[in-house]
């Protein structure tokens, strides 16, 4: 059995771990609220843009002359997997779930004889993907110097993706991120972003004829990159909220486990202490009787 001193040391170290996890849990709870508010603020723009895209897409027919972002390159040999992770750990299985989903997709695509490339956003997940696919990482986008990935980051990622797409580096892009369902539940999600899946046509509300300036095709071509940005931005926001949610749950569990461990160790500590006292007493009494 461990000595009293050792036990005391362990109890103290678990206690300080618990303090850290508790603090992280509270920080995550506060950040979660903020992240959720940000996600809500972004909703009007995204829904309006989707509506506009829907009504535009219903008016034109997709042909070879359509913008490449909508019509595709005509082949689907090279797939780019855009994997959005967080920069920090301490959030349970959040990052590994996303990476797992991406790797599963990669295997599936490779089994079909396609080429797979990775585009990584965020610091976590790099190591795992690099180990499995060391030569297939097209780019690693760094978000560690900004506090909360925002629209500027989404814009930069989208610009790079579009440039790569136009240079013919890939044919199809999938985005992996975690959808925020609740603080307890985050779903790793796979979404095709390039070619842009045609948004569902909005329900025609008024039959008034809408005028376009310039014409529908040109507006659509101008809006496509913006739509892509909005989708990336939405994904980054969902990811941020999911990360905090996952972090909160993971840290809550950790705090509770630490509490349990402290209770158990304290019982062992007290038992050992009592056993030592009893032994001492027995020794004294035995000594007194011998006299």
């Amino acid at each position: 059995m461990a000595s009293l001193k050792e036990l005391k040391g362990r109890i103290n170290s678990v206690k300080s771990t618990q303090k850290i996890t508790k603090a992280k849990q509270m920080v995550a709870a506060a950040k979660l609220r903020k992240a959720q508010a940000a996600a809500e603020d972004a909703r009007p723009y995204a829904s309006r843009l989707a509506e506009v895209m829907g009504s535009l897409a219903s008016k034109i027919t997709v042909s070879e002359n359509s913008p490449k972002l909508l019509a595709g390159t005509g082949s689907d040999k090279v797939h780019l997997l855009v994997v959005a992770n967080s920069d920090k750990g301490l959030c349970g299985a959040f990052n590994s779930n996303i990476v797992k989903a991406a790797l599963a997709k990669a295997r599936e695509l490779e089994a079909q004889g396609k080429t797979v490339l990775f585009y990584l956003v965020g610091r976590k997940g790099r190591a795992v993907i690099r180990r499995e696919h060391p030569t297939q990482i097209a780019h690693m986008f760094d978000t560690s110097d900004v506090r909360n990935p925002g629209y500027d980051e989404a814009e930069r990622v989208a610009d790079e993706l579009v440039a790569m797409y136009e240079a013919g580096k890939f044919d199809v892009a999938h985005l992996f991120y975690s959808k925020f369902r609740s603080a307890l539940l985050q779903e790793p999600t796979d979404q095709q972003i390039i070619p842009v899946p045609a948004p569902k046509a909005a329900v025609q509300t008024a039959d008034a004829v809408t005028e376009y300036e310039p014409d529908e095709e040109e507006i659509l071509a101008a809006l496509l990159p913006r739509y892509l940005k909005t989708q990336l931005f939405g994904a980054l926001l969902e990811n941020a909220a999911s990360e905090q949610g996952a972090s909160m749950t993971a840290m809550d569990n950790a705090t509770r486990n630490a509490g349990d461990l402290i209770k158990k160790l304290t019982i062992v500590y007290n038992r050992t202490r009592q056993a030592a006292i009893t032994t001492e007493l027995v020794e004294i009494i035995a000594g007194a009787e011998a006299l």
Binding site: D41, Y45, V52, G150, E211, E213, E218, L223, K229
Partner: protein
């Protein structure tokens, strides 16, 4: 009759209010939108929106980049990537 004007960026809803008229710098020329304008969509050149709250008042200017305007039954909605000020 007032015109309902909304200015939305990816980060948030910047404005949602009733105004008299908004002059929008469309890519193919400026256009003013009053209440009851026909349904209309246009991309916007980077520049300033002029918002007239009252008929004779001085306009308020809002600089935007990467914009898109939609006029419908509900009024004027401007989607902009960036808004200054």
């Amino acid at each position: 009759m007032p015109l309902h004007f909304e200015l939305v960026t990816p980060a948030k809803l910047v404005r949602s209010e009733d105004v008299h008229m908004v002059v929008v710098p469309g890519t193919e020329g400026e256009f003013g939108v009053l209440a009851g304008h026909a349904p209309f969509m246009s991309t916007i050149a980077d520049g300033a929106l002029k918002v007239y709250r009252t008929e004779n008042g001085a306009p308020e200017e809002i600089r935007i980049t990467g914009g898109f305007a939609e006029v419908g039954d509900a009024g004027l909605t401007v989607l902009a990537e960036h808004v200054e000020g």
